[in-house]
Symmetry: C2
Subunit: 476 residues, 2 copies
């Protein structure tokens, strides 16, 4: 049996490619939307993708399952668990099998048993995989967002991101039961999860690619609760300290359940001439300025969003960019493909083109972001400027500038009404990246009196300026 983990760093997302050399068939589990990576792998291994399976309806990325099935003719294996809210729709025309707990399917000699493991989501399933060429006993489990290395999937995602009130606690209880049942499996079972460190789908994900049930049973944070059957303690611990869930998650859930546009390949946006660029802007396109915070501060086009090209590009794009308007990238030509993929992975397909730089714009056409040092910031703070701390809630609680308002950088746009237009706003994060993104959103929404604390709270504390802990003006 061939087995490959495919790691997508931006969303810390893992998909899997399993092949049976004896029959030439392959199975892909939890594919991302730019599916060429699987097609190329199949080609290089001389295998045909015959099946595509999904552990659950994902929230943090747009699934490539339908895309891959449409491009290859593979059969989809999707969960039939959960209530009506969690039933896949729009599968007409795609060969598919809806599976439930206890079902089995084979891809060549690869035997897959379906286990219903609700908790992260109600319809979540785990695949127990056996290499039939060796034995019928499973050697590994593809656990999706049920079991991670050192953690479990968060059950509060939809309550948090989509306002589905009252789903977090029942989810946590379901997770407890799923774990209890799963622990009956043997210690030597390999666990290959759907996410690694950095994903917003859990809070303490480990950086290892895989783990074993025996190790998790002994050393995961949840092990002690399961050991003593302490469901209440487990639920409390699980729901505590989960990171902010990006608002685009809600949209992903809906599209992954109901269907999304098929791409037929990765889009290649073209370079726009100045006239083309002006035309698409006039038609409502949003300019995504992917340069770093310094370049953005030094001069940018009014109305553009600063989302620097980097590891978290997908996530920040998901937090801030509109799904109903075309996008234009300001990016080095060599980066356009990777950035376009990062957007397509979360369903931001409308990339109208790119421009490589701002040469040719006159000084007066560009806007700057005033940068202030820690000393200047202290003077502004003393003089009554509003301090807007755009870090996560946990970071804020651990220590913030006294009186600072906390709105996560990704949520600034949703809370504009809480911000004053009549006094200076001093924006900061830890080191100045997220604040640049938040400031770009504020500027795009007409705020003018906005300042960036260069160096973030790091610089502030290094100067020994006052910091307080715990709650204050919190709006995470």
């Amino acid at each position: 049996m061939v087995f490959r983990q495919i790691y997508e760093e931006g969303l810390a997302q893992m998909s899997y490619f399993l092949g049976c050399p004896a029959t030439g068939e392959a199975l892909v589990v939890d594919p991302r939307r730019d599916v060429d990576v699987y097609l190329e792998l199949a080609e290089s291994l001389g295998l045909r993708i015959a099946a595509v399976a999904e552990t659950h309806i994902h929230a943090d990325y747009l699934s490539g399952a339908r895309e891959l099935a449409a491009q290859t003719g593979a059969t989809l294996y999707l969960s039939d668990e959960g209530d009506e809210n969690w039933k896949y729709r729009g599968l007409e025309g795609l060969p598919h099998v809806l599976v439930r707990d206890g079902d089995e399917f084979r891809v060549g000699n690869i035997r897959v048993r379906v286990l219903h493991t609700p908790g992260h989501t109600p319809e979540h399933i785990t695949f127990l995989v056996a290499d039939g060429a060796v034995t019928e006993e499973p050697l590994l489990a593809l656990t999706g967002d049920f079991l991670f290395v050192g953690d479990v999937g968060r059950p509060d995602l939809l309550e948090e991101a989509a306002g589905m009130r009252g789903t977090a606690e029942p989810g946590a209880r379901a997770m407890f039961r799923s774990l209890r049942r799963f622990l009956a499996l043997p210690d030597h079972l390999q666990i290959w999860p759907g996410h690694g460190a950095g994903s917003a789908c859990g809070k303490a994900l480990g950086a290892l690619p895989a783990t074993t049930l025996g190790y998790e049973r002994r050393h995961a944070w949840w092990a002690e609760y399961l050991e003593r059957g302490d469901e209440e303690g487990f639920v409390r611990a699980l729901l505590q300290g989960q990171p902010e869930a990006p608002t685009y998650f809600k949209e992903m859930k809906r599209m992954n359940r109901d269907g999304m546009p098929l791409l037929g390949g990765v889009p290649h946006p073209g370079r726009l001439t100045r006239f083309q660029f002006q035309k698409v802007l006039a038609e409502g396109a949003v300019l995504v300025d992917t340069r770093d915070k310094f370049a953005f501060a030094g001069g940018h086009l009014p109305g553009s969003f600063n989302i620097p090209a980097g590891k978290n590009f997908s996530t920040w794009a998901g937090w801030l960019l509109p799904y109903d308007r075309p996008l234009v990238l300001l990016a080095e030509p060599g980066r356009v493909e990777a950035l376009t993929r990062a957007l397509v992975r979360i369903g931001l397909d409308q990339v109208a083109g790119y421009i490589p730089g701002l040469e040719g714009y006159a000084e007066g056409e560009l806007e700057q972001v005033p940068q202030v040092s820690a000393e200047e910031a202290k003077r502004m703070w003393e003089a009554g400027a509003l301090v807007l701390d755009v870090r996560g809630r946990d970071e804020y609680l651990a220590g913030h500038i006294p009186g600072a308002l906390n709105i996560h950088a990704g949520r600034v746009v949703a809370h504009l009404d809480r911000l004053p237009k009549d006094r200076p706003i001093l924006v900061h994060c830890l080191g100045g990246d997220r604040s640049s993104t938040a400031i770009s959103a504020l500027l795009a929404h007409g705020f003018r009196n906005v300042y960036n604390l260069t160096g973030g709270i790091k610089a502030w504390t290094e100067h020994g300026f006052p910091v307080e802990k715990g709650e204050a003006l919190v709006e995470a």
Copy 2:
């Protein structure tokens, strides 16, 4: 703890990168010689390579341990087990620690315990790795060529490749004892080996990146022998059916023990003008023609070796190319870097340059390889041509053209005296790739009456022509 497996497809070789984000230190285990992959990983993760360790003195590739230590200042951790033949030499000037069974070392929070696991080689050690941030209990073992997925390292490599008579059986017995001892470890221990499917360091390596001790204990081919304590049966089974060991292995062993030239970076051979090319050829350089078998057959420069660019390039280069002469690559410019790396990985450092094609050569300057169909081959065979089967011994025994001589393609040069110059030699393999390589070696050594059975024994059997099984004129 950060953990990455780095897979090098050409030699099916796996190295490991382990990092401790808390202290910013990293450990690399069993690095390959083009070490930039580790430097880039460290850079991207913001870590410093503080330690480099090796499971054993490798035979199939030139170690990058000293290279990486020299470039980073990292401390080397090397085995002090085994007799005088297996002691590392020439380590002066490189910070190093020689370790024995039971020793421990730490890299940040990563705790590494050394286990002596002889069998593949006498000094072989395995690293038990614990993530000290979680627990002191090991979560995984880096088993090198001791334990593979579904297999164990072969103990006969040096007897086979280097003529060290009488080492295979004692090695097999040592392997049995190492396994017995290792099986005392818990089922949930992850096993991350030094090689995957396709390596010549074992015979039945699985295609999965990792396994667990519990799964191997139950399902590996050797499990039953250990279960019933059947050492004799184990030794017999282990020594049976091992693949041919490339002759360059002997050279690798020596260099990996005694030291090799440090590179300081990956070489970038330049493109040679026609005059430069002629000059290096006149000075004794060997032309390595990396085009496919068809292009080579259609026209090649006399004296060149046909080793097509592809997955097994390193291995065939190791089988056939001289270590004491400069090499020139005939390759597409876009492939030169990958090919150079493949050569450097096995210590073929003397790449004098490349030429992109044979344009400009007159018809008469190029040599062809006569291709014969299965029907023509049958007529030649009936008329008394020598059939030279250049496949592996096991393939030959499973079915060959009656009367065929079997010399593995990589060993043809070592057995030229067994080949007639006075009658036609009909060379074949399974499908025509290895035979093209073997023919190029024969032509380079002055043989002229050589024919390639296009389509190999595949075509022969498809025509229903006679095949016999078992021993005959075997010289594997």
